[in-house]
């Protein structure tokens, strides 16, 4: 099933200091962090990005600091899915653990104008800019990742087994 939102493009090696600068880390909830998301890259992002939008980045998204505040801030903005050619390991785990959807599409995606409509079919790992006519195919997540997502995050899974 396709869901659409505005697509916003970012480059390679967007580190977590850019996604959530240190000065906002005294906050610890998605709601409190959302106004500062991506402000280390450009302070206008939080006002630009609307719930349901899609971030489309290059390689090594989320490298650097392990701060979970980075995916929390993106989740707080209501981002539907973050697509990247590759994610850094810690960011990837953090996002999965808090239930922020990520899609790894190794092939370079042609950059569209900022704010173009992007369609996501998350269960099938697909991205499109023309309602599914041309699709970009993601790498299926590992079984453990699907299991965590199915529980709505890591802690609900851990608590259900306690």
């Amino acid at each position: 099933m396709w869901t659409e939102g505005h697509g916003w493009f970012l480059g390679d090696d967007i580190d977590t200091d850019q996604i959530m600068p240190t000065r906002y880390l005294a906050h610890s909830t998605a709601e409190d962090l959302a106004p500062f998301a991506l402000s280390g890259n450009d302070t206008s992002w939080a006002a630009t990005i609307k719930p349901g939008d899609v971030l489309i980045a290059g390689k090594n998204f989320g490298c650097g600091s392990s701060r979970e505040h980075a995916p929390l801030g993106l989740k707080g903005l209501g981002i539907q899915c973050v697509v990247a050619q590759s994610f850094s390991r810690i960011f990837y785990r953090n996002a999965v653990n808090i239930g922020l959807a990520l899609l790894t599409i190794p092939k370079a995606i042609p950059v569209q104008p900022q704010g173009s409509t992007a369609w996501i079919d998350f269960p099938n790992g697909l991205l499109s800019f023309d309602a599914g006519v041309t699709t970009y195919v993601g790498v299926p997540p590992a079984p453990i990742v699907l299991e965590i997502l199915a529980h709505g995050g890591l802690m609900p899974m851990v608590a259900s087994r306690a």
Binding site: L25, S28, N41, G64, S66, L154, A159
Partner: protein, 418 residues
């Protein structure tokens, strides 16, 4: 089946005879930690999910190191949350008079030992790997799950062996080797791999310089970095060890993904220019560049041996008038030792500031945040945009002797120029 040191440690902690790269395994964790940024989330999650206790209070600690001492009402509130949650879960908390950076403290307290499996709540937790353990960093929720169960899941990493050859030239340190390596392979060059450091130059390095190398594995995307324990390692950890340990060694001839040979015969001290740790070159490429601040410290280079090296350069000299210099030990023990050995006096006589242990300006929270247009030469580990303050500021990374010499000259310089 022959296995690398990393695979062997993971297999032992997974209760298996052997593992292979790509295997998803459930492992027991020997030690974990969090800090004043992560603990409110991590311990808060335990509370939210009704988990009554952590799996073992001797295998976790928290350090308040980024925003402590409180520098605003907002940070005071967050530090209070950290303190209250640590008390509620009986988790040892280190702050103020016992302050330290957690990955350094774990080593100093002898709870990151050869053969162990360590998962710390910060990205530079990979540092302990130079002692011959598997050590990696994870985020707050992963640490919460570890505290609840004593276990976590891993994807067994492929091993990339970095074989260093040649002799270390003057003023070249472990920091230069790792900066050079990241420059060669890129910031995702070891993506999710085990980085194994071998060769005569590694044997020649003192343990704390090897730790500076493993510390920055994350800057190449490494899942962990590891050195096989040798006599130096055992001499370093044995007096510190808080519990018995058994060193683990890789099987000779175990299959690895790739070996990369790095000849350091001609390597000079390295500087990484903004805005990636991989943007490296010889210090000569940026010789004479003007500076506003010099920072000597962080988990990468805040060891007593780093402070000694910097003090040897600063002794009897003054820092240049055009800049400010701050020296920050990584733990309270290093802080005390620097005072006992007279290093603190040398720093103060030279006109540098000498502060209590914190992450300091490395993470841009306090003790030297940069304004727009300012440039800092830093012995820390990251130089991403805005890492140390304004996104219009610049951070150059280097070793402690280049930092100290540059502090005296007022521009990027080598000790040979003094």
């Amino acid at each position: 089946m022959k296995q690398t040191i990393t695979e062997k440690i993971i297999a032992q902690h997974a209760g298996r005879d052997f593992v292979q790269p790509g295997d998803l395994v459930d492992v027991s964790v020997d030690q974990t930690w969090s800090d004043d940024l992560g603990a409110p989330i991590t311990l808060g999650l335990l509370k939210t999910h009704g988990i009554p206790a952590v799996f073992d209070t001797t295998r976790v600690f928290v350090t308040s190191m980024v925003n402590a001492p409180a520098r605003s009402i907002e940070t005071a509130e967050a530090l209070k949350v950290t303190r209250d949650l640590c008390r509620a879960y009986d988790v040892p908390l280190f702050e103020m008079g016992s302050a330290a950076i957690h990955n350094s403290l774990g080593i100093e307290r002898g709870v990151t030992l050869p053969g162990e499996l360590i998962v710390g709540g910060n990205s530079h937790s990979c540092m302990a790997g130079a002692l011959g353990c598997y050590a990696t960093g994870m985020g707050s929720t992963d640490i919460a799950a570890i505290l609840a169960t004593g276990r976590t899941w891993l994807e067994v990493p492929r091993t990339i062996r970095y074989r260093y050859t040649g002799n270390l030239r003057p003023w070249v340190t472990g920091k230069d080797l790792i900066l050079h390596t990241i420059g060669q392979i890129g910031v995702a060059g070891a993506d999710n791999a085990a980085m194994e450091f071998v060769g005569d130059p590694i044997s020649a390095l003192e343990v704390e310089q090897r730790l500076s190398m493993s510390n920055m594995a994350i800057e190449a995307g490494g899942q962990n970095a590891i050195c096989e324990p040798d006599d130096k390692t055992l001499a370093y950890v044995t007096p510190l060890a808080a519990r018995p340990f058994t060193p683990v060694y890789g099987d000779p001839g175990a299959a690895i993904f790739e070996e990369i040979v790095i000849d350091i015969s001609n390597l000079e001290p390295v500087v990484a220019a903004p805005f990636l740790p991989s943007n490296t070159g010889s210090w000569r490429d940026v010789r004479g560049l003007s500076l506003d601040q010099v920072y000597i410290g962080s988990c990468t280079n805040g060891w007593i041996s780093d402070l000694r090296a910097a003090a040897a350069i600063l002794k009897g000299r003054k820092v240049a008038e055009n800049l400010r210099v701050i020296v920050i030990p990584s733990t309270t023990e290093v802080h005390k030792q620097a005072i006992e050995e007279g290093l603190a006096q040398i720093f103060l006589d030279a006109g540098a500031a000498f502060s209590m242990p914190t992450c300091g300006p490395c993470i841009g929270a306090q003790a030297g945040v940069l304004a727009a247009g300012e440039r800092c030469l830093s012995t820390s580990n990251r130089n991403f945009p805005g890492r140390q303050g304004s996104v219009q500021s610049e951070t150059y990374l280097c070793n402690p002797v280049i930092a100290a010499a540059s502090a005296v000259k007022g521009v990027i310089a080598s000790p040979d120029e003094l």
